[in-house]
Amino acid sequence: MTTTLHTPHATDHLDVLESHALFILREVVAECERPVLLFSGGKDSAVLLHLAAKAFAPQQLPFPVLHIDTGQNFAEVLEFRDRAVAAAGARLVVASVQDTIDQGKVADPGHLGSRNRLQTVTLLDAITENSFDAAFGGARRDEDKARAKERVLSFRDAFGQWDPRQQRPELWQLYQGKVNPGEHVRAFPLSDWTELDVWQYIGREQMDLPSIYFAHQRDVVMRDGMWLAVGEFVEPRPGEDVVNKMVRFRTVGDANCTGAVVSSAATIETIIEEVAIANVSERGATRGDDKFSETAMEDRKREGYF
């Protein structure tokens, strides 16, 4: 009988995070009947899709990819979505917030109004209609204080709600995704990744991303402390000056609530350097949707948000 204290061990942090994510992906697919992968076209969901392809290689993905289309996307992100889904050989399901509005389930915020919060209704409808019992998401615990509290496998009741006071114990890596009909779990394989880990991994794997993550010239206006890209969904208001700046996006959300950061980082390597010394968080720098209240994310998550 051997007792080895220093057995060969995956100790490089990216290797540990990667294998853990693959393990979660396989475990959920094995335990749940109808999983789906939520794909926004952002870097986190791109990493998630990349990991899913690795987890089941050389087979095809054993689940479809779901995009909740707010109709207020950056064009570059939609192009990337189609490219990435095709490269992974995945089946894409698109659920549209416009349909939810047309069905009278949510109020129309108007052409320029934010549809961010409306997405939750579209998402929950898509989960119900397709009988999905597990939805993979690219959320990370370092993004927000409510997400920092969430399990890797997060139980949602028949109304899609998260109850932070009644989370299932999650011991070791014994993830258990069994639910009763109508309920589902959200699964977050990137739970323990930070923004820097994601970029280091993208660099290591030489992954494709939407071009708006890299520095480019763009017309922007300053609104609510953020640089918003002038375009179809953001029109300059009286008193706002349109300026042309070298910017990039640190996160990808709707065009009318995602701010750009002034940056000259045009390669993954320079972005990693920028992220490593950033003194404002990724959501703090770029997301108008979190600025409503102290517990904006917790409130949205309770309703069933991503």
Partner: protein, 418 residues
């Protein structure tokens, strides 16, 4: 700037409610500049809003509305910190006895426990419970922060009194590495920088101790293990068996046994993410190609000698979280062990752990948050190791068949201190 890859250490805070766990983590993150400006601003604003001074450090991790209103931690918060050589995953666990299930969640994956005690009240029963659970869960290294030294006039005598209590308990519980540090989480003394208020203390700060500890040091391997998660079909008709390696590494050419079928074969190839490897190290989510045709599937296990045990009867240590007591003939339960789920019955409750004396007392049932020993009978055979030999093949959870809730953490065998 150093951007090379790092090793990874998982730590969990343990200890009683109000002894300052969340404040210590808040202090550690603030003083090592792990918090972004906007996150710190938000903590300041939330503190002011509740009229509790300039900066309530516990709000760094207590992010839920209910936690901030009640001033306690309800569930684990995960925070991340990096130093030039190490990435830390910090599970800030709740101290309140009603949330023991959440503390166990945070501690079950920890390499190291950061125990926080209030010097003015000493070692409380709840701290003993947490240290006991951490020891049962296989945590072997502890860093003990004796907190609120500012409230005890930085007294060495007061510190030493707690050190003596900790020494005795930690010897009984079998921790192999222990550092005890006098701190004030509120003021920052000995958390990141050495304090001028404790000239009698020459040891490391909390940060020093965390950086010096060995990552993944709980591994005491007894053979390589791969519980099969999923069967991958290869082009040309072959199959490979995917799962995460535990115990020791597998190498191409290793003689292995497929269990519970007890079929011997050889590893023909090792893959990871569609690419071939010569070795599958511990923690790798690999897939193995076996030389002989088998009908292996999810729930089976590939192992090298010394082989694990195939059994339907388990002598186990149980941390019970269910609302109704666990007893013989009680609720309908399912057991999940590695990648296998099976119906399970309680054959006998052998006893309950008395936290004060660390002895086993007779009991017919286990109440919520009690820890005890039980004999379980499963419908299907399991392939197990003793928990102290392999944290993966020695652990399981019990699931309520009606609600699907996880109601117990279980470990095969029992700790030597019991």
């Amino acid at each position: 700037m150093e951007l090379a890859t790092k090793d990874l250490l998982r730590l969990a805070t343990i200890g009683s409610v109000d002894d300052g766990k969340s404040t210590l983590i808040g202090r550690l993150l603030v003083d090592t500049r792990q918090l972004f400006d906007d996150q710190l601003d938000a903590v300041v604003a939330a503190s002011e809003k509740r009229g509790i001074g300039d900066l309530d450090l516990s709000f760094v991790t207590d992010g839920l509305r209910a936690e901030r209103e009640q001033g306690i931690t309800i569930d684990v918060a995960y925070r991340y910190a990096t130093t030039p050589t190490r990435k830390f995953i910090i599970a800030d666990c709740p101290g309140h006895v009603s949330y023991t299930r959440n503390m166990a969640t945070g501690a079950s994956t920890a390499d190291l426990a950061l125990a926080v005690l209030d010097v003015t009240s000493g070692l409380k029963e709840q701290t003993r419970r947490h240290l006991c659970i951490a020891a049962l869960l296989g945590v072997r290294s502890i860093v003990v922060a004796v907190n609120k030294m500012d409230m005890a006039a930085w007294s060495e005598i007061a510190f030493q009194r707690v050190v003596d209590q900790i020494e005795t308990l930690s010897r009984e519980l079998g921790f192999t590495s222990k550092v005890v540090i006098p701190v004030s989480a509120l003021l920052g003394d000995n958390v990141v920088t050495s304090s001028a208020n404790t000239p009698w203390y020459a040891g490391p700060t909390v940060l020093d101790a965390l950086e010096a500890s060995e990552a993944g040091s709980w591994e005491v391997a007894q053979g390589a293990r791969l519980p099969i998660q999923w069967v991958l079909r290869q082009p040309g008709g072959g199959r490979t068996y995917a799962g995460m390696v535990s115990g020791e590494a597998f190498n191409v050419g290793d003689r292995v046994t497929l269990l519970p079928a007890n079929v011997e074969t050889t590893i023909r190839a090792i893959n990871f993410g569609g690419e071939s490897r010569l070795e599958a190290v511990v923690g790798l989510a690999a897939d193995l190609d076996l030389a002989d045709e088998t009908d292996a599937g999810r729930g089976d296990l590939i192992a090298t000698a010394p082989l694990p045990t195939v059994t339907r009867e388990l002598e186990a240590t149980i941390c019970w979280f269910g609302e109704r007591p666990l007893s013989v003939g009680g609720q309908r339960l399912r057991l999940k062990h590695t990648t296998k789920s099976t119906p399970v019955r309680v054959q006998a409750i052998t006893g309950v752990i008395d936290i004060a004396s660390l002895s086993i007392k007779d009991a017919a049932s286990l109440a919520t948050n009690e820890i005890g020993l039980a004999t379980l009978l499963t419908a299907d055979a399991l392939v197990v190791d003793d928990y102290r030999e392999d944290r993966v093949t020695g652990s399981f959870v019990l699931i309520d068949e009606v609600t699907n809730a996880t109601v117990a953490a279980g470990m095969v065998g029992h700790a030597s201190f019991l």
